[in-house]
Amino acid sequence: MHIDLRTVTIKPLRHTYDHVARRIGGDKPASRYQEGTFDLQATANFHYRPTWDPEHEIFDTGRTAIRMADWYAFKDPRQFYYGAYTLARAKQQDTAEANFEFVESRGLAQALPVELKEAVLRVLVPLRHVAWGSNMNNASICAYGYGTAFTQPCVYQSMDQLGIAQYLTRVGLLLGDPDTLDEGKRAWMEDDAWQGLRRYVEDTFVLKDPFELHVAQNVALDGLLYPLVFETLIDDVLSSRGGTAVAMLTQFMTDWFGETRKWVDATVKTAAAESAGNKALLEQWTRHWRDRAAAALLPVARQVLSDNADSVMSDVVVQFNTRLAKAGVAI
């Protein structure tokens, strides 16, 4: 049954801000994502050059080799503005909290076979540092990238990765104790299995081109790491060996990757579709960082998969190539 409540109706002068109207094809109601994103970053009449980078303006398209006629061609398929973002993460956080609570209250961590628990800690705990690296790198893309449509998701990505580093820390504390974290850090600093990955992360810290950094971090490294570790090692291999409880503790990461890759794919697709030059550059960068990331991750995988690490890794790479091909980058 329809109830017709009445309010005083007045005819508005306009439906949205003019700069938004110009982008959505006229004066019509705009979404909160659109009003909170379009043209938010200053583009003109900067007063001073950065004393820390006098070659560039405060915001400068020249910091990257990617060329875009319009940097607002990038759209976040999740339509994340701050409110939508925090609501989405709060919900996932609720689930994560419930999962930790479930595992803890039922003593499932203690029930894990010792060997399995050690394998999990060996792989997951040093990954705190990888997530921390991504936190820094996405802060960098957010600071030095161009246009709110491209940079806004990076601050979310940055803080997500801090959250992931913190969830991994909690896994370490739940399955182990504070010494476990120290041991993970020692392995990260010293063990051969981790040095390729640590070198990769440190090398990305000095990348100056924000779009190349996006490719190195969000496209290539995360594009291989998450399917390998969270979807394959944890969800398939270790679960089948009795580690389902661990999959509950890392559900946030699995869900997160499933969601954020849509945004990552959209950025690659938009940039590649812009010009042959962009496409060639993206192919070159993706190939380079994919090969380095795959090589760095292989010894990590071998710690758990002694027999078939190579074939698992090459499966992950094949899936990655297929994914990127769909986004218009043939590698």
């Binding site: 309010t7 007045i10 508005p12 002068l13 439906h15 949205t16 801000y17 003019d18 700069h19 909160r32 009003e35 043209d39 938010l40 970053q41 200053a42 009449n45 900067f46 007063h47 001073y48 950065p50 004393t51 820390w52 405060i58 503005y81 701050y82 409110g83 925090t86 609501l87 993460r89 709060a90 996932q92 956080q93 994560a96 203690q110 540092h129 997530a131 921390w132 820094m136 802060a139 957010c142 600071a143 030095y144 806004q152 601050v155 979310y156 801090l162 959250g163 580093a165 913190q166 820390t169 504390l173 504070p178 010494d179 850090k185 600093m189 070198r199 440190e202 090398d203 810290f205 000095v206």
Partner: protein
């Protein structure tokens, strides 16, 4: 089960440490100075980043949870306010001009703060400050967006808000807040933190944010009030960060003191000059006033700020010298500013007016030393002239201060009858200043401030007309061309409040909402 018994437990502080700085490591494949290239050139010496005391301990899961709850409430109120035409319950339509000033002048700065803190949060070699800065970066995009969303409904019904982003980069008086933030962001990361984290967020926030939000509450603007209140707990975090930054830098090395003192002096003055816009908003634009600018300055700066600087005295920090000049200006600032905007009302994206008689009496009571003597006669003259059909609009362009970019409208400290001019010759050019403090700031970094994009100079150089304009063509109207460049609609966004479309619409709509017509 033995393992359970021997398991070490972490205290709250240790737990937060393993969740943040425990994630960091000393790199060996790349050099520290290549990873953090901007940390040394300002001359600040940091010996031990681990001495940083985390000003708050918020892990991301807790952050998402609290912030989402706040967002849910905020947007529910914004929606309800829009749905029942809450804008019609503000005191009177003149109030909406404060909202215009806020959206065009302040909200874009929130966005700049977001990017600036992302930069600072990437560049500090210490993990503790990096996390705190990044959390602030995330908060600041929240503030920009909640303001844009909350004020969107005003934009649907009133003029002057429709091109806030475009205007912020171009309109003459908006170059004052814009250049302020550009100045901070282009400084090194430490100066940025002192400028924004400390001087702005800690010392001056009560004079910027609070007057707007309290003004909204007093004038029935639930939308603005709600985003203000919702931002309060974020601001409290930002203030503790600002204070921790100062203490940390000063405790690290005695050689940091003179650098920090100079920054505090500079940024207190830079911030104060931006607050000129707030001063006139408080005294002239709010139909229902909360307190006078002078009272606000006395409470929030002289009393509260005085206590803060006493607290910082143990580090050797002294009250900024400019406080003396500011004390001499406090009886005059808002009156001189409003007088200027009344003059240039044809080139501003909000309406101006002469205060009503009871408002002038309020001003006289709040400013017994100055209002009746210097400012009431002028306002009354303007009102008489307007009544005769001679509403005065100044069509010439004013000289701007090279540093703060405000027209040279301020008077000599101690003599409100004489305009204050200072000048400096630098590399064959003459540069003009509104005050000794702006002049000193220039002299310390002339290569920075000669770059200023001064709106008046730019207009004279022909850089502020729409593309394709021919200024030599017959009948060329420079003001009309500049307003087109601003995307400012003549006759709708500008001119006197009396007779404006805003005034007429508000009266009509309020009539529809409250009477049976």
């Amino acid at each position: 089960m033995d393992m359970q018994a021997t398991k070490k437990k972490l205290g709250l502080k240790e737990r937060y440490q393993v969740m943040t700085r425990g994630l960091d490591w000393t790199p060996s494949y790349q050099k520290m100075e290549d990873i953090y290239p901007y940390v040394a050139y300002e001359g600040i010496k940091i010996h031990d980043w681990d001495k940083w005391e985390d000003p708050f301990r918020l892990t991301m899961d807790a952050y998402w949870k609290y912030q989402a709850e706040k967002e849910r409430k905020l947007y529910a109120i914004i929606d309800a306010y829009a749905q029942n035409n809450g804008h019609l319950s503000v005191t009177d339509a003149r109030y909406i001009n404060t909202v215009k000033l806020f959206l065009t002048g302040v909200s874009p700065l929130e966005y700049m703060a977001h990017r600036g803190f992302a930069h600072a949060g990437r560049q500090f070699p210490g993990a503790g400050p990096r996390v705190a800065c990044l959390m602030q970066s995330l908060d600041e995009i929240r503030h920009a967006q909640t303001q844009i969303h909350a004020l969107s409904n005003y934009n649907k019904h009133y003029n002057g808000l429709h091109e806030f982003r475009h205007m912020h980069d171009r309109v003459w008086y908006l170059s004052v807040p814009k250049s302020f933030f550009d100045d901070a962001v282009t400084a090194g990361p430490f100066e940025f933190m002192v400028a924004i984290g400390f001087s702005f967020e800690y010392v001056l926030t009560n004079l910027l944010f609070v007057p707007f939000v309290s003004g909204a509450a007093y004038n029935g603007d639930m939308s603005t009030m709600t985003f203000g209140f919702s931002a309060q707990s974020d601001e409290a975090r930002h203030m503790t960060l600002g204070l921790e930054v100062i203490k940390f830098i000063l405790e690290q090395d005695p050689a940091n003191l003179p650098i920090v003192q100079r920054w505090i002096d500079k940024w207190t003055w830079r911030g104060y000059r931006v607050l000129t816009l707030v001063a006139m908003m408080m005294d002239y634009m709010l139909p229902k006033r909360t307190m006078s600018w002078k009272e606000a300055w006395e409470v929030y700066f002289e009393e509260n700020g005085g206590a803060l600087f006493k607290d910082l005295a143990r580090y050797g920090i002294t009250m900024p010298k400019c406080a003396e000049t500011i004390a001499l200006e406090k009886d005059h600032l808002s009156h001189q500013a409003w007088g200027t905007f009344y003059n240039y009302g044809a080139a501003a994206a909000f309406h101006t007016w002469v205060p009503e008689k009871d408002e002038m009496d309020w001003l006289a009571a709040k400013y017994p030393e100055s209002f009746d003597k210097y400012y009431r006669p002028r306002l009354e003259y303007w009102r008489e002239q307007a009544a005769k059909g001679n509403r005065f609009y100044n069509k010439t362009l004013p000289m701007l201060c090279q540093t703060c970019q405000i027209p040279m409208l301020f008077t000599e400290p101690g003599d409100p009858t004489k305009i204050c001019y200072r000048e400096v010759d630098y590399k064959d050019n003459k540069y003009h200043f509104c005050s000794d403090h702006c002049k000193e700031i220039f002299e310390h970094e002339p290569e920075k401030y000669i770059q200023s994009w001064l709106p008046v100079h730019q207009i004279y150089q022909g850089n502020c007309f729409p593309e394709g304009t021919d200024p030599t063509g017959e009948g060329f109207d420079p003001l009309a061309a500049v307003l087109q460049y601003y995307h400012l609609e003549f006759g709708r966004d500008n001119l006197d409040f009396e007779g404006s479309e805003d005034q007429k619409n508000f009266d009509t709509w309020r009539g529809m909402a409250t009477k049976n017509v």
